[in-house]
């Protein structure tokens, strides 16, 4: 396997959990709610997915349970923010600590457990294509699901009636009210749906990527997902690009080291964050215009001079 193939394959494998979480965060942010608790939802999904897969023997049941667990944790955030008027950034961090604590309490029994996992399945025909085949079509089923999810969410957000309502709830909720819609149920659905996607990301992490559960296994991937969403201005297709970029950066240093290049892993790890900052600086104005209006209240993104 050439190094390019290896990095791209690893980029997709490692980027998928971030992709799910970032897609979820995009949906949530489009409805005007930032969820820093994404990391917590990922952890909840990772544990619930692995535990249910281990108990029932069905990884797909695990995937379902993981999505539910991620959604439940996001429900706490939604309730705090939408119904109790708590600060979004603070509530998100609390939810992260809640997820971290709950999964470490209930995860102890599953640290050594063996669970059925998702394994790569080559798609006949497509996987024979040189380079494209091994990179994209020799992956596990959850990766294929994410391929379908990206255009689907893009269509949902920008082409469907529900998507218009969802985006309106984050931009100008008073317009929705004027048209006789109720804003809060839409926002609840967006935040909980986003948490479910983050939970699926966690499921991919534990049952397909590492094939194990251990405490605090997301190690910052949830925050990375939040950063990717900013980088990609909440557009699913760009989110996919950003998630795979992070994944590729993670895969690059082991690939180089295996070939005897003494590249420092951490210099590479910092690259995606620096790129995100540079993108924000270069396209700052455009990014600002892209921020849903409900969100700019959270970030207080009005430039003050």
């Amino acid at each position: 396997m050439t190094i390019v193939t290896e990095v791209f394959t690893g980029g997709i494998r490692g980027g998928t959990s971030i992709l799910y979480a970032a897609l979820g965060e995009s949906v949530s942010e489009r409805a005007g709610v930032v969820n820093l608790g994404t990391e917590g939802s990922m952890l909840a999904g990772a544990l619930a997915g692995y535990a249910v897969a281990a108990e029932t023997g069905h990884p797909w049941l695990g995937a379902f349970a993981g999505a539910v667990a991620g959604g439940l944790l996001a429900l706490v955030h939604a309730y705090m923010v939408l119904s109790r008027g708590a600060n979004q950034l603070a509530s998100g961090l609390v939810v992260l600590f809640l997820g971290l604590g709950l999964t470490s309490l209930f995860g102890v029994t599953y640290v050594q457990a063996v669970a059925p996992t998702f394994s790569p399945v080559a798609i006949p025909g497509l996987s024979a294509i040189p380079f494209i085949g091994p990179v994209f079509f020799e992956q596990d089923p959850l990766v294929y699901l994410s391929y379908a999810l990206v255009p689907l969410l893009s269509w949902f957000l920008f082409r469907s009636r529900w998507g218009v309502l969802l985006r309106a709830s984050g931009e100008r909720s008073e317009v929705l009210v004027a048209h006789g819609h109720r804003v809060r149920p839409i926002q609840y659905a967006a935040v909980v749906g986003g948490g479910m996607l983050a939970g699926l990301g966690g499921v991919h992490l534990s049952t397909a990527y590492t094939k194990a559960w251990f405490e605090n296994m997301a190690v910052g991937r949830g925050f990375v997902a939040v950063a990717v969403v900013m980088f990609a201005s909440r557009r699913p297709i760009r989110v996919a690009g950003g998630a795979y970029l992070f994944g590729a950066a993670l895969a690059l240093s082991p690939a180089l080291q295996a070939r005897g290049f003494g590249i420092n892993q951490f210099a590479l790890d910092a690259v995606p964050y620096v790129v995100t900052l540079v993108v924000l600086i270069v396209f700052g104005r455009r990014q600002l215009r892209d921020v849903p209006e409900g969100l700019s209240k959270v970030f207080d993104a009005q430039p003050t001079r």
């Binding site: 809640l98 209930f106 790890d269 209240k297 970030f299 207080d300």
Partner: protein, 380 residues
């Protein structure tokens, strides 16, 4: 009009007082209930303490249910937690030692928050402070020792923390990018810088093979207070709390920060230099967090390792929110949160539950305070 209403009321032969008791009609009962639910004690220390106690009680109750599910007797667990945390002087000192960098990082949230800025970058600023202090110590390489070296390390840490937060402030002022986004991203850059240094450049070749720097010389460590684990950094953080309190109360800078935080547009029209105020608030905040990194390095850990101040910045951010960004309150809430974390050690030793499980107790407490015991924020 009002006489009309009272007239119609008395005509139904129900005394108005009965409405408040909720016995008259379901609607009135609901209204009365809503009034009770909406009741919030006025601001003030006693009321704040009461709200905190209620939230703490609720959190402990819910956490007790979780312990029952895990097959642990919650009463025994709480008793063990309480006795091993509050009756031994070592764990009391442990709380104070852990709270030291938290307090400084909490002030790093509170000072910018007064000007309406959101600094989620305490983590990165703590790390950069620790990295700069270690770097200064390596640079001096024994040429200077003792107090002079410590002062140089502290200055380097403060400057590094201020630069790290200043970067976010510049991006906000020149690029219009929200500081809450950039400080969050810079946390990861700082973490990778530290990892880069401890895995390669600064790695202790004679060490145990773990990624860590060499330990500071005995002479380059902060002096201990008496024969405890408490170090001079604790004093430094208390001084910082008092200083910030006085600056907020008595200086025109502190007042101007509040004006900017209240309404930047009004402040600008009143002739305040809003940009300079935002920049200085952020620089002071970053410098305080940088100092926090220095105290943790020179007072408690003595070397950079991979878990250095891990998660402290986020806990400090929450502590500042818990205290409504008031300096004295920040100190108290940092002590409270580090007490809970130290209590987690007991949870592991005495009850056999993972120490990280105590994060649930902390999160439940904070949910109680943020969601049910503080005034709602408008449109946030």
């Amino acid at each position: 009009m009002s006489t009309d209403v009272s007239g119609s009321r008395s005509s139904t032969a129900t005394p108005p007082a009965a409405d408040d008791d909720g016995g008259a009609s379901p609607a009135a009962a609901r209204a009365a209930q809503r009034r009770v639910l909406r009741w919030r004690p006025d601001n003030g220390f006693a009321a704040a303490a009461l709200r905190l106690l209620v939230a703490l009680g609720g959190a402990m109750g819910l956490f007790a249910v979780l312990m029952l599910i895990k097959g642990v007797n919650p009463l025994a667990a709480y008793r063990d937690m309480f006795t091993s945390t509050f009756t031994s002087s070592t764990s009391l000192a442990g709380i104070a030692v852990r709270a030291t960098p938290l307090i400084l990082a909490g002030l790093a949230v509170a000072v910018p928050a007064r000007a309406g800025l959101i600094n989620v970058g305490g983590e990165g600023q703590l790390i950069m402070g620790g990295v700069a202090a270690m770097g200064m110590s390596l640079l001096l390489d024994g040429a200077v020792n003792g107090p002079v070296a410590l002062v140089l390390m502290a200055v380097a840490a403060g400057i590094a923390g201020a630069l790290w937060s200043g970067l976010a402030a510049i991006l906000r002022l020149k690029g219009g990018i929200s500081e809450s986004v950039t400080t969050l991203l810079l946390n990861y850059v700082a973490l990778d810088i530290m990892y880069f240094l401890i895995y390669e450049r600064w790695k202790d070749r004679e060490g145990s093979g773990q990624p860590a720097t060499r330990a500071l010389d005995k002479a380059d460590r902060l002096p201990l207070l008496g024969d405890t684990r408490l170090h001079l950094g604790l004093l430094l953080s208390v001084i910082a709390v008092v200083a910030v309190y006085l600056v907020f109360r008595t200086t025109s800078w502190g007042f101007r920060l509040r004006v900017v935080g209240g309404n930047p547009e009004a402040a600008r029209r009143a002739g305040l230099k809003v940009g300079v105020l935002l920049l200085t608030a952020m620089l002071v905040g970053g410098a305080l967090a940088g100092l926090g990194g220095f105290t943790q390095l020179a007072g408690a850990e003595f070397k950079l390792r991979s878990g250095f101040v891990l998660g402290y910045g986020y806990v400090a951010y929450l502590a500042s929110w818990l205290a409504g960004h008031k300096p004295i309150g920040v100190m108290l809430s940092c002590l409270l949160l580090s007490g809970i974390v130290i209590g987690g050690d007991s949870l592991q030793l005495d009850s056999g539950l993972p120490a990280a499980g105590v994060n649930v107790l902390m999160a439940l407490l904070l949910l109680g305070v943020f969601g049910f015991a503080t005034k709602r924020e408008a449109a946030r």
